[in-house]
Symmetry: C2
Subunit: 233 residues, 2 copies
DNA sequence: GTGCCTTTGTGAAGGCATGCACAAAGTCGG
DNA sequence: CCGACTTTGTGCATGCCTTCACAAAGGCAC
């Protein structure tokens, strides 16, 4: 028996690596940029011309040093003694996040959640255009939702290729999710937002983000129980 | 990701206190427990009696060492050479998360998202009971959704107190969220799941978790843009 | 131009999470 | 009852993230 490293032990290392070759922005930072963007848009609406890291941090609910470090990854866009120009920073963050371009999104699965997503204003207002709604249920196909007609899931590949869809939202039941996932990847999609309560298995190079509504509630329940147990708060 | 401190409050640290007979389970672990639970339920349905950390980790999509370390925080529930008893582990994790008790949840805001949440099966099946649906729009009040009648938001305090609601889901427009938040806290609620795109300001001792659908899309767009820019993957 | 005041950008330290590697512990066939 | 085998639980090293603290930079008043 060898006590050296097994040469084949990198099966589980296939995870996406944040790797710093270019301007490698830390994942934690990327996840907060949308937060800053939202706060900035709020300030812009009120006509605020500039904002300090302290104030912006408060509006976004983070520590100001963290905010400054996050922004420093994008470049040096602040002015010492003054703060950040709101409009300019909005543009820079948007550009970094890729929101200055138009993204075509398809939603697969038009149940309650799919409908809610289709009608959700937060997408359209940020450069995401819903280019297709698809469902496997003939009962639902043909419905008009948010200005779009629901198409049959058979059309998935066609819709993706014809309309240049690059991001797919999976809002199907758990049982259909992996199959849909495989098909959209086969059709060339490499970014997936998954609402189905399953772990999707995907090849390298494909990004999957998962939103699980019940997990959040379970985490809350954990903390709520802690409080009730008489733990010193 | 969690109840963050307000930037101006970090002098008097009232942070989560790990002391007290220290069963202090790391936040990162708590966030994964629901994942393990789901994987275990899948195994239980197929009648699997025991599972190794390797297999369970694969089903949950995590590293097996991480899984073992996570579980070790709950206690020593595995058997060396064999693995974990599926049913027993389900029970232990459920208990730790507080899912063995019944949680009354109220959903405020019955738009598209609120309706989707009310109909979402993942809640009920995990010990969460929807005890109230409320909305400020008289047009919506009286609608029957998921077996419940929508009540007017004026009833918020009454509903919370009479029905023992301990977790509130805010699915209102951004403009109403803070007001709803203040009211439910005043009524004694200390756990809030917020879908409105605003940073809620709450006193210490109140847990807020936030789900923002558009943030996830923006993070995907960031990575998608990176790929398109010809970055080496 | 000078000096003061504000605020950024970042070096450094500490904390937390991750994943490897292995000893300890338990099973199982014979 | 024993020895081989499997798998857990964990010490440890590593790296990322957060936060503090401060020097450097720029604005502004005069």
């Amino acid at each position: 028996m060898s006590n050296r490293l097994h040469p084949l032990e990198f099966r589980h290392v296939t995870r996406r690596i944040p790797q710093a070759r270019d301007r490698g922005i830390p994942d934690a930072t990327v996840a907060r940029l949308p937060l800053y963007l939202r706060a900035l848009n709020g300030l812009a609406e009120r006509g605020t011309p500039t904002v300090s890291s302290e104030d912006l941090a408060a509006a976004a609910g983070v520590n100001s040093a963290k905010l400054r470090k996050d922004l420093s990854h994008l470049g040096s866009y602040g002015t010492r003694g003054v703060g950040y120009d709101v409009q300019y920073l909005i543009y820079q963050i948007s550009r970094e996040l890729g929101l200055t371009q138009d993204w075509a999104v398809a939603i697969v699965g038009v149940g309650n959640l799919g409908r809610a997503l289709a009608n959700y204003g937060g997408f359209v207002s940020r450069g995401f255009r819903i280019a297709g709604l698809l469902d496997g249920d003939p009962q639902v196909v043909g419905d008009r939702i948010a200005g779009l007609t629901v198409e049959h899931a058979d059309e998935l590949e066609t819709v993706i290729k014809r309309r240049g869809v690059s991001i797919v939202v999976i809002a199907t039941p758990a049982s259909a999710a992996q199959q849909v996932c495989d098909r959209v990847i086969e059709a060339g999609v490499t970014s997936i937002l998954n609402f189905a309560p399953v772990v999707l298995s995907v090849p390298d190079g494909v990004d999957v983000r998962k939103v699980d509504l019940s997990i959040e509630l379970q985490i809350l329940a954990f903390h709520e129980q802690r409080k009730a147990d008489g733990v010193v708060m």
